[in-house]
């Protein structure tokens, strides 16, 4: 390649490290380039294939002590999380009665309660969300009744539980070990299989 052609290309690409990078990537490929591309894709595939192995290693790491909170239950009493912490695993659902995904989880939670209800404490906390009407005892009771949920349902009227657990949307689930530490926070819907897997991990099954 002649010198004038080279300098014209250099001017087009610009000076400095960015220009050098552009010149390098505008050049014809070296003989080893296809091999390097194939190697990068192979490496990504291997990394993806390793994910199931990493996920399969129990138990999930603890995220710290579960913050305590109190809520007004739909039965008219006050429930405090501290009454269960350290005694048995706890599963908390943060939800809103108008949330379609919480509704989609209704029957899955009922099935999970039938299997784990005697070994894991189920608690549902109705939270206030921006843009949604505040949950009321009537709306939350109607929601629980619709799916036949028999566990504790309460209202987080002061948004303390929501803030402590950094709930930004519903549903959000908290899995708490028997020793009172948070095993996992899960924002969004989950499948029946995932729910069963995480609850099974809580009880060591």
């Amino acid at each position: 390649m002649s010198a004038p052609t080279q300098s014209r290309k250099s001017r087009q690409a610009g000076a400095g490290p960015l220009g050098a990078l552009k010149r390098r990537f505008s050049a014809p490929p070296r003989r080893s380039e296809p091999t390097r591309i194939a190697a990068a894709f192979a490496l990504a595939t291997v990394a993806l294939a390793l994910v199931p192995l990493i996920n399969a290693s129990p138990p999930p790491p603890a995220l710290g002590a579960a913050p305590d909170f109190s809520i007004f239950t739909t039965a008219g009493s006050i429930y405090s999380l501290s009454s269960d912490l350290g005694r048995q695993p706890v599963f908390i659902e943060f939800m809103h009665p108008d949330c379609s995904h919480c509704r989609a989880m209704g029957s899955r939670l009922e099935a999970a309660y039938a299997e784990f209800g005697t070994r894991v404490r189920f608690v549902t906390v109705a939270v206030r969300l921006p843009g949604f009407a505040d949950p009321t005892v009537a709306s939350v009771s109607a929601f629980a009744g619709e799916f036949g949920h028999g566990w504790t349902y309460g209202l987080d009227q002061q948004t303390k539980a929501r803030d402590l657990y950094r709930v930004v949307g519903t549903p959000t689930f908290a899995f708490i070990w028997e020793n009172g530490t948070v095993a996992r926070m899960w924002p969004g819907e989950m499948s029946a299989g995932e729910l069963q897997g995480h609850l099974g991990a809580l009880v060591g099954g």
Partner: protein, 173 residues
């Protein structure tokens, strides 16, 4: 000048575009791989399941996430792999074999990927009413590959060029 033509049968901007398309495809391939794992409940992708309208789990495990028993994300992975293979072939040997036929095949692959991605995005917004961030990222990767390949995609289906014409000798001799 003959030597120059043999070393660089494509323009510098096309080489740059092909490499950018390969980089975009690599990102898209990885993202689609995470979505495949998420579909089979191996990876939870909880980081992108936030709130009532932003959930990868909801979209990626819906009825729309499978076509004829094949996960859509897996089809996306294969699409990105195809774009990479065709771009590499175009870059290495643009005047023979797959490299010669790469432009129309790339046009078809990118067009199909973008159309399919757009359809799934419409399903997300208007049917499921939930947006899957990783799916959007995958679509963006396809779009980026399409933009990067703009100099390659416009080439029509190649006819067998007479050797020695247009100052472009056959390669690899």
């Amino acid at each position: 000048m003959r030597r120059t033509a043999r070393k660089a049968p494509l323009g510098p901007e096309e080489y740059l575009g092909l490499r950018m398309a390969i980089a975009s495809s690599f990102i898209g391939f990885t993202v689609a791989g995470v979505l495949v794992l998420n579909h089979f409940e191996v990876a939870d992708a909880a980081f992108c399941s936030v709130g009532d309208w932003l959930s990868c789990n909801t979209v990626n495990r819906s009825d729309y996430s499978v076509i004829l028993g094949v996960p859509v994300a897996l089809i996306g992975m294969l699409g990105f792999l195809a774009v990479t293979a065709l771009s590499t072939a175009r870059m290495v040997a643009p005047r023979r074999g797959l490299g010669l036929r790469a432009p129309p095949l790339l046009t078809a692959a990118v067009g199909a990927g973008l159309s399919f991605g757009a359809y799934l995005s419409l399903v997300e917004v208007f049917v499921l009413r939930v947006v899957c961030l990783l799916c959007v990222l995958s679509l963006v990767a396809f779009a980026a590959a399409g933009v990067a390949l703009r100099r390659t995609l416009v080439v029509p289906w190649p006819r067998k060029a007479p050797r020695g014409k247009e100052g472009l000798p056959a390669e690899g001799r």
